[in-house]
Amino acid sequence: MSSRYNLGPTRARKFATRVLPLIALAIALVLIPALGPSRSMYSLMNLVGINIVFALSYNMLLGQTGQLSFGHAVYFGLGGYGAIHAMNWIETAAIDGGFWAAYPVFGVPVIGFAIGVLAGGVIGWPSCRRAGIPFAMISLGVAELIASAGFILVSIFGGEEGVSGDRMNGFPLFGLNLGAISQVYWFIAFWTFVGVAAMFAFTRTPLGRMAQAVRDNAGRVQFVGYDPQHIRYLVFILSGGFAGMAGGMSAVNFEIFTPDSLSLVPSGLVLLMAYIGGARYFAGPILGAALLTYAQSNLSDFAEAWLLYLGLLFITVVLFAPGGLAGIILSVFNGLTRPGARARLVQWAGQLVAGLLAMVGGVIIIEVAVRITKGYGEVYAPFGVAFGPDSALTWICAGAMLCLGLSGLRWFALRGEAQ
């Protein structure tokens, strides 16, 4: 049917917003090894890929359907355990034969996906009966239950030391035996692309659209004739599946899974990734996963209070930038392209300077305080400037910077409102 006025996006626009980003991602993933990354760079990127899929699967719940879960690592962990057991079956089947002899380790994330779907279907049935805050608390309780079960059922979860496997078995799909880390990169890159593309495609399906409608106005969805509880349940199952797929990727990458991976700590981390990146945007969790994974592997080495910084960053995002990093990037881009960019630029520059000042003051206070408690007698001396814990100058300087920065931020905020 052709209408005279086509109000929808043009073909070029559709291509630019729906296909082009995925092509760009594929090209980036293919080109990265050409830059000749080091071993540690490879292992970091593998972890980023796993966390991107995990954070996106989480955002199917938080960002797309408006369900806040505190126990998403359960599906990641169960999928990962399924994958690691499958790897062990492949190993034994290499000698004994059978179905698993023909199954490549490369395809193990599919097993993770299936287990995740199964777990989502079983656990989601009682927990999706409630929405909003009760759902969040239920997810927490269920996560505690499964995590404790992980330590009790040794034959499945391997007790404290977990279950380990070997990825260099079975038939090498695409000629990858997955021995070297650069080969694992291709495995991770492939599944990251599959996960991102599939979850992006999901947002365009009728179910994905209805999920967003449930998030925005569940009552109205019900009025139109859909069952919000059913839609939440279906999305929950799929989200569990993709989390399980990320678990399967992780199983091949690390060749071990421990019951800790089911616990509240990774569940909290994936929430932080999705939210700091920007839960309202599809690309947000990708940004968040990349940033937090990078920060975790680099910052946690020399900043003892890295979780404190993470908490502060999270609270700042919740309070002042609910759109997360993606929201900030988008509003900067919009602000520069729309009229009146000069005034906005001055405002942002001022806020940036004040924010940096407050941050430097805060970091000095935290770092000096950490060194006092840990009692190594080491003096915090970034860039050769020593901040002695006993000298009053340290505290006065840092405190003044913090106060000045915070009041500067407040002044600019008031100024922005006045304009």
């Binding site: 806040l68 805050i133 999270f314």
Partner: protein, 310 residues
């Protein structure tokens, strides 16, 4: 018989301690719709404050000062944090308190260190209260029982028999009307939040030396308190009371039952040496509240006394 009586008293004490935590959480939730994820962190702060104050002034001053300080911290959080994002909805508020729980835990680690602090039962209370079936019963537990019952009675009296309680109850259901009558509703909210945090702090003061005062104590207690609130029915104080006692008894009884699955399901052919058969009821005690949560959700999704759907 003696296990039964000991389990009864211990369960009652643990249940009342849980109620001290969950009553504040429930009050805050039913009034502001905020689920304070950091509630157990104020419990931890109470214990640490009591340890530090107590090492200077002794336990009795700390018993009063530490909850007040925890309450003041709660008031500050409400005034400068929660109030700002109230307009962004309840999920944003929940996320804010979630981040706060991270921050409080890390700050506690920086100030008091990663390991447990030696917060001990005061010498005045470190004797045995009575002898029952040949075992000594510590006086401190009886003291905890009295503090908890005192808290329970004063909370009930405050809410049901005083003018302030009347205004708080009115603000729960009709905040706009209460504001029209000239009451400062945001300030009432702040006071309730502070009072809830102070109750959690009190639980920390008397629970911190009974259990262990360490940076993970908030994470260990938090989920159980949430279970209490969901099982009792979101926003129902009476429900929270029943659920607290239920979970208190459930956990203490489970610890004292030393039979395994094989003993129970042996008739169905479960071998004593098998993995499932070896699991004892006692080892399941930490999991039982969460099992109760799942069962409750399947049977009665609104909780014991919950009427409202949130």
């Amino acid at each position: 018989m003696e296990t039964l009586i000991f389990a009864l008293i211990n369960g009652l004490i643990y249940g009342l301690l849980l109620f001290m935590l969950s009553s504040g959480l429930t009050l805050i939730f039913s009034m502001m719709g905020v689920l304070n994820f950091a509630h157990a962190s104020f419990y931890m702060l109470g214990a640490y404050f009591a340890y530090t104050i107590g090492s200077v002034t002794g336990f009795w001053v700390a018993l009063f000062l530490a909850p007040l300080l925890a309450g003041a911290a709660g008031a500050a959080v409400e005034r400068w944090g929660l109030r700002r994002i109230h307009a962004n909805g309840h999920v944003a508020e929940l996320l804010f308190t979630f981040g706060l729980a991270y921050i409080i835990e890390e700050v506690v680690k920086i100030v008091w260190g990663n390991l447990a602090v030696p917060y001990r039962i005061p010498a005045e209370l470190n004797f045995s209260a009575f002898e029952l079936f040949g075992s000594q019963y510590p006086a401190y537990r009886i003291f905890m029982l009295f503090i908890s019952i005192g808290m329970l009675i004063s909370l009930w009296y405050l809410l049901k028999r005083t003018r302030i309680g009347l205004i708080i109850q009115a603000a729960l259901t009709h905040p706009n009307m209460v504001a029209s009558l000239g009451h400062n509703v945001p300030r009432i909210f702040m006071l309730v939040f502070a009072a809830g945090c102070a109750l959690a702090g009190l639980a920390g003061v008397i629970g911190g030396n009974y259990l262990v005062t360490e940076p993970t104590m908030a994470l260990a207690m938090g989920p159980i308190v949430f279970v209490v609130v969901v099982v009792g029915g979101m926003g129902s104080l009476e429900g929270a009371f029943i659920a607290s006692l239920l979970i208190g008894f459930l956990q203490t009884f489970a610890v004292s039952i030393d039979i395994s699955f094989a003993d129970i399901f042996g008739f169905a052919g479960l071998a004593a040496g098998s993995e499932i058969g070896r699991i004892t009821i006692a080892s399941l005690a930490p999991v039982l509240p969460f099992l109760l949560l799942v069962v409750m959700l399947v049977v009665r999704p609104t909780g014991l006394l919950g009427e409202r759907e949130f």
